[in-house]
Symmetry: C2
Subunit: 244 residues, 2 copies
C-alpha cells in the first residue's frame, strides 16, 4: 500500500484492488476517487504544452503532475511505472495511461466531443488531421530534438557530432515550417474554418522557433496564427504555467 498512496498512480495497481475485502477497499477509496480524475504528467516548456492546451479547450477535469527535467525525474522508477519510455506527456485516465502527443490529442477530442476539437465524423478529414499531427511528431519535433538531444542518436561523448546536429536545426526547422506554411495550413485554422487539436500542437512547436534561430515572421500565416492563439484563454493559462 505504500506505493499506492504515491501521486504516481498506475492503473495496473488499481486493478489489483478489486477483491472484496471491504477494509482494503476503504483504504484505497481515495486512490480510486483520484483515479476518476485524469492526471496530466508534464514538464515545463516541453511538448506537453500542446496536450495541456487541448485539455483546457475541452474543459476537461484533470490534475497536473509536474516532472522536474533538471533532476531527470522522468527517468525515476516511479515515473517509469507511469510511462516506461520516460518521456512526457502522459495522461492517466480511469482506463489506463496514454502516451504520445497525437494519441493524447485525439483521445481528448473523442472524450469531449462537444468541444469540437477534431473532425470525428469524417474519415478523410480525420486522416488529414492525423497526418498533420504525425508530421509534427515524427519530423518537426525530431528536427528540433537534434538541438539538445543529439545523444539519442550518437554516443554521449561524441560532442562533435552533436554540435553538427545542433548546427543544422535552424535549417531543418525552417524547411518544415515552410512546408507547413505553404502546403498544410488551410487557414484561418490549420484544418480550415474549424479550430482543432492541430492548432494546439503547431502553436506549441511554434513557441520553439525563436530558440531554434528561426524567425516566425518569415511564415506570415503561422505568425498570425501564433498571435491569435495567444489571445485564447486556454493558451493564456497554459503559457502562464510554463512561462512561455
Amino acid at each position: 500500500m505504500e506505493k499506492s498512496s504515491h501521486p504516481y498512480l498506475s492503473v495496473n495497481e488499481i486493478d489489483k484492488f478489486t477483491h472484496n475485502d471491504i477494509v482494503y477497499k476503504t483504504k484505497v477509496s481515495n486512490l480510486l476517487k483520484v483515479a476518476q480524475t485524469m492526471i496530466f504528467y508534464y514538464a515545463l516548456k516541453t511538448v506537453s504544452v500542446a496536450s495541456q492546451i487541448a485539455l483546457e479547450e475541452a474543459g476537461a477535469d484533470y490534475d497536473l503532475h509536474e516532472l522536474d527535467f533538471s533532476t531527470t525525474e522522468q527517468q525515476s522508477n516511479d515515473y517509469l511505472n507511469v510511462n516506461p519510455k520516460g518521456r512526457v506527456p502522459a495522461l492517466a485516465t480511469k482506463h489506463g495511461i496514454i502516451t504520445e502527443t497525437p494519441a493524447i490529442l485525439v483521445y481528448i477530442a473523442q472524450t469531449y466531443p462537444k468541444a469540437k476539437l477534431a473532425p470525428l465524423n469524417d474519415h478523410f478529414q480525420f486522416a488529414k488531421m492525423q497526418a498533420f499531427n504525425n508530421y509534427l511528431s515524427s519530423t518537426v519535433h525530431v528536427n528540433h530534438a537534434h538541438k539538445i538531444r543529439g545523444n539519442r542518436w550518437v554516443e554521449d561523448e561524441d560532442k562533435v557530432s552533436q554540435a553538427a546536429m545542433k548546427a543544422k536545426v535552424p535549417k531543418t526547422m525552417a524547411e518544415s515550417f515552410t512546408l507547413i506554411e505553404k502546403e498544410m495550413f488551410s487557414g484561418p485554422w490549420v484544418l480550415g474554418e474549424n479550430f482543432s487539436v492541430c492548432d494546439c500542437y503547431v502553436f506549441c512547436i511554434s513557441t520553439w522557433l525563436a530558440g531554434d534561430k528561426v524567425n516566425i515572421e518569415d511564415f506570415p500565416k503561422i505568425h498570425n496564427h501564433h498571435k491569435r492563439m495567444r489571445q485564447r484563454e486556454s493558451v493564456k493559462k497554459v503559457t502562464g504555467i510554463h512561462g512561455i
Copy 2:
C-alpha cells in the same frame, strides 16, 4: 490536359474539371473513374509495407504506383504534387491524398470497418493503438533512419557524423524493441486478442532488424509474431512484391 493523363493524379486537379462542358468532361471521364479507385504510392522495401499489408487485410480496392528511390523519383515535381514532403507512402483517395503511416493505417481501418483492424468504438483502446503506431513512427523509424538518412540532420558532406549516427542504430533499435517486447506487446497480437493495424506496422519494422544488426531472436514475442505474420495471405502477397 497534358498533365491530367499522367498517373500522378491530384485531387485538386480533378476539382478543376467540374464545369459543364460535356466534351471536356468526357475527356476526363477515365480520370474520374480512376479517381474512384484508391492509388497507393510506395517504394520497395520501405515503410510502405505496413500500409500495403493493411490494405490487403481490409480487402481494399486499390491500384499500386511504385516510385523508384534509386532515381529519387519521390523528389520529382510530379510526385511532389501528390506529396509535397517527397516521402512514401501516400494514399490517393476520391477525397484527396493522405500521407503519414499512422494516418493511413487508421483511415484504412475506418473505411473498412468490417475488417476490424482497429478498436474503433473504444476511445481508450483507440488511443493505445495510436500511441503504439506513433512510437513506431516518431521513435523507432527515426532511430532506423539514422543509418542511411543521417544527412537529414547534419550537412550532406559531414560523413563523420553520419557514420557516428549509423554506428548507434543497432543500440537504439535494440532498445526500442526491448521496450516493445516488455511493455507494449500484449499478445498474441500487439493490442491483445484482436489483430490490428499495429501488427502490420510492427511487422514491417521488424523486417529491418537484421539489416540494423539486431537479432530478432532476442525478442521472443516479436520473433514469434513475425513468423505468424508471414503465414498470412496479406503478408505473403506484400512481402512477395517487395522481395523481403
